[in-house]
Symmetry: C2
Subunit: 344 residues, 2 copies
C-alpha cells in the first residue's frame, strides 16, 4: 500500500455506498481535552430483578417473560413501526414529501444471563442467536409488505443501549431504508458493469493485501474495510456468495458464531474493557425479487478511539461535510490483530 | 397538514440531500432507561488560566495568544488538513480508491470571555463573528485549490467540544465534501427542472404552512425543516437568494447575528440549561464556478431529546438503515416557539 496513505491527509471512497471519508493520519498525536466517557467495567448479576429482559420478569405491557433457556424473541413494547398504515402519502410539490411506513419491531434476548455479552458467551450459544436471526429474517421477510429486515445490536450505554442484558433488535419495514438501498444500487451497478460481485472481488483484493484482515475461518473473513469511518470499524463478509440469511448452512451458522465471538473478544481486549458498538447484518431485501448482486455481510461501528474512555465524536465537520478519521484503517487492523481472542 | 403525520409512522424526504427519515410520532411515550448525560450547568470564569483559547495564554505550538478584544482567528495547531499534498491517488480496480486531500484548518474564538456562548453574547458582538466568517470564507475561498469552506461549531462536551471557550472551526478543503456535494446536486437539478430555486420555493411553502417556523427578521427565517432528523434540528435560511458569504450585506450581517442570538437563547431556555449542538454554514462552493442554484443556509443539529440529560442516540437502526425520530418536526417547532428569546 502506498506510503502516503499512512502519512498524509487523503480521502477514501466507499464503493458500497458511494460515500467519501477524510483520513488525517498525521493527526494521531492530537491531545484530547474533551469529555471522558464512563468506563463500563461494572460487574453485573446473572439475574437482575426488575430487568424486563430477564426470564420470569414482567414487561411494560404487563406480560411476564417465560423462563427461557437459550434465546427469547418478542414484539417490542415501544415499536417504531406499526403493522397497519392509516393515512396516505403527502406530496406538496417536490418539497413536502411523506409516505406511510409499516412494519414490525422485535427484540431478541441472546441469553437468559443478564451479565453476558457475545464475547463472553459460548460459541454454541451464539449459534442459537444466529439461528434465531435466520428464523426471524425468514418469518418477517415472508410477511406481506416487508421489504427489509434490519437486525442490529446497540451494545453499551455509550451507544444508547438502555439495558445491558444481551439483546438485539429487529426492525422489518415496508420500504428499503437508505443504507441498504445504497448498497443495493452499488452492488447491482457493479455486477452489471463488471460481470462479477463487488464483495467477492473485494474479498480477493483484501486476501492479496492482507494488511486489513483481522481473522477468518472457513466461511467468513473479518477485516477493517479500506473505507472505514469509525476508528475500529469492521466488516464480516461471507466467503461464499449468497444474499439472504435463509441461505446460511448449519456449518455457516457455527462459523458466523465463531467469528462473532472472536471479533468481540478482540474488541474487549483492545482497551481491556467491554467495547461499545453498534453492529448489524446486511442480508438482501425480502421483497421476493432476485438479488444476484447482493453479498451477505455485517458491519461493526464502535465509537472508541484511544481508550475505554476516549471516543471519536462524529460531529461538526462530520455532520455538515464528511466523516473524518485520524488512525488509518491499516493501523486499526494491526491493533485488532494484536489483540487476543481469549480472556486472560 | 395531514393528521396522520402527527399520529402514524411515516417517512419524510429531504429534497436537499435525497435522504429519507423514519418518523414514529406514536412512540413519544417510550420510557428512557438508558444513559443520562451530565448537565452542563457549571459556572465558568471570565478568564480561565491554562485555556489555550483565552487572550494572553500559550497554545500547543508555544505561541502566545494576543490580548484580543472581539474575535481571534488562528491556524489550528492540530489540523485535519495540510496545505501541501505529497503522494498521488490510489486506484486499484474500483474498490481501493483514495485521493490526496489538501486544505487549511482555522479556529475562530467568538469572544475573549471564556464563559460566554452565542446566546449570552451581545448581538453586536455576534455580528463581529459573522463578519469574521465572511472574511475567512472570502480569504480561504480565494486560495488555489480550495473548493469548499466549511464553518462549524461543536458546542458542549456532549458534542465533542474539547473546550467551552466559545469558538468555531473552519476547514477549507480541495474537494467538495459529500454533504455540500449532495446539496449542490439537488439544488442544481431542481433549478434545471423547475426553473426556480429549491430553497426559495421551500421558504414560500413554509410561510404558507407556518407550523414549522420559529422566528424571523427582515433577512432570515428560522424553522424546523419538514425532513428534520434530530429532535430539535433547525435551519436558518436567507430570505434573499444568494449563495456565498461575500454577498452578505452589512444589514444581513446584523440580521444573521440577531437570529443566531434568538435561536440559541430559545434552545437554552427549552430545557433550562446550555443546549449542546453542532451548527454550521452552507454557503456555495469556492471554486470560482457559477452556482446560481445555491441558496445560503445554516443547519443546527442538537442532540437533546426530552431534557438536558436525555439525548437522542443516532445508533443501531440509524447507522445501518435510516435515521429515526419520535417527536414530529411540527411538535418540535411548537416547543421552540413557546421557548423565550430572553433569559429570565
Ligand atoms: O477539533 P476538535 O474540536 O477537538 O474535534 C471535534 O471536532 C472535529 C470536527 O468536527 C471532529 O472530527 C472530532 O471528532 C471532534 O472531537
Ligand atoms: O429501542 P432502544 O434500544 O431503547 O433505542 C435505541 O435504538 C434505537 C434504534 O437504533 C434508536 O432509535 C434510539 O435512539 C436508541 O436509543
Amino acid at each position: 500500500m502506498s506510503d502516503f496513505l499512512q502519512n498524509a491527509p487523503h480521502r477514501r471512497f466507499n464503493p458500497l455506498t458511494g460515500a467519501w471519508a477524510l483520513v488525517s493520519p498525521h493527526r494521531t498525536q492530537r491531545p484530547w481535552r474533551g469529555q471522558l466517557e464512563a468506563s463500563a467495567a461494572e460487574t453485573l448479576p446473572r439475574r437482575q430483578p426488575g430487568c424486563y429482559l430477564c426470564p420470569g420478569e414482567v414487561r411494560a405491557n404487563g406480560k411476564r417473560n417465560p423462563d427461557y433457556e437459550t434465546v427469547f424473541v418478542f414484539d417490542n413494547d415501544f415499536p417504531a413501526l406499526l403493522p397497519d398504515a392509516d393515512g396516505k402519502a403527502v406530496e406538496e410539490g417536490e418539497l413536502l414529501i411523506a409516505r406511510p411506513e409499516t412494519g414490525f419491531c422485535r427484540v431478541l434476548c441472546f441469553s437468559p444471563r443478564h451479565d453476558l455479552t457475545l464475547s463472553r458467551m459460548e460459541t454454541r450459544d451464539i449459534a442459537s442467536v444466529v439461528e434465531a436471526w435466520r428464523d426471524e429474517y425468514v418469518a418477517l421477510g415472508a410477511r406481506d409488505n416487508v421489504r427489509y429486515v434490519q437486525i442490529f445490536e446497540n451494545r453499551g450505554a455509550m451507544m444508547g443501549a438502555s439495558n445491558p442484558h444481551p439483546h438485539c433488535q429487529i426492525w422489518a419495514s415496508s420500504s428499503l431504508p437508505d443504507e441498504p438501498l445504497k448498497e443495493d444500487q452499488k452492488q447491482a451497478d457493479y455486477l452489471a458493469r463488471k460481470g462479477s460481485c463487488l464483495l467477492c472481488d473485494y474479498l480477493a483484493c483484501e486476501r492479496d493485501a492482507k494488511e486489513r484482515i483481522i481473522c477468518e475461518n472457513d466461511a467468513f473473513l473479518v477485516l477493517v474495510p479500506f473505507w472505514a469511518v469509525w476508528p475500529f470499524e469492521t466488516m464480516i463478509i461471507s466467503k461464499r456468495h449468497f444474499g439472504g440469511l435463509e441461505a446460511l448452512t448449519n456449518a455457516e451458522v457455527e462459523a458466523l458464531a465463531d467469528v462473532l465471538k472472536r471479533l468481540t473478544t478482540r474488541y474487549d481486549n483492545l482497551f481491556a474493557a467491554p467495547f461499545p458498538y453498534t453492529m448489524g447484518l446486511h442480508p438482501q431485501p425480502t421483497d421476493g425479487r432476485a438479488y444476484p448482486h447482493w453479498h451477505f455481510h455485517a458491519h461493526f461501528y464502535p465509537p472508541l478511539l484511544r481508550s475505554a474512555t476516549i471516543r471519536k465524536f462524529m460531529v461538526g465537520y462530520e455532520m455538515l461535510a464528511a466523516p473524518q478519521r485520524d488512525i488509518t484503517p491499516e493501523q486499526a487492523a494491526a491493533s485488532l490483530r494484536a489483540s487476543a481472542e481469549w480472556f486472560g
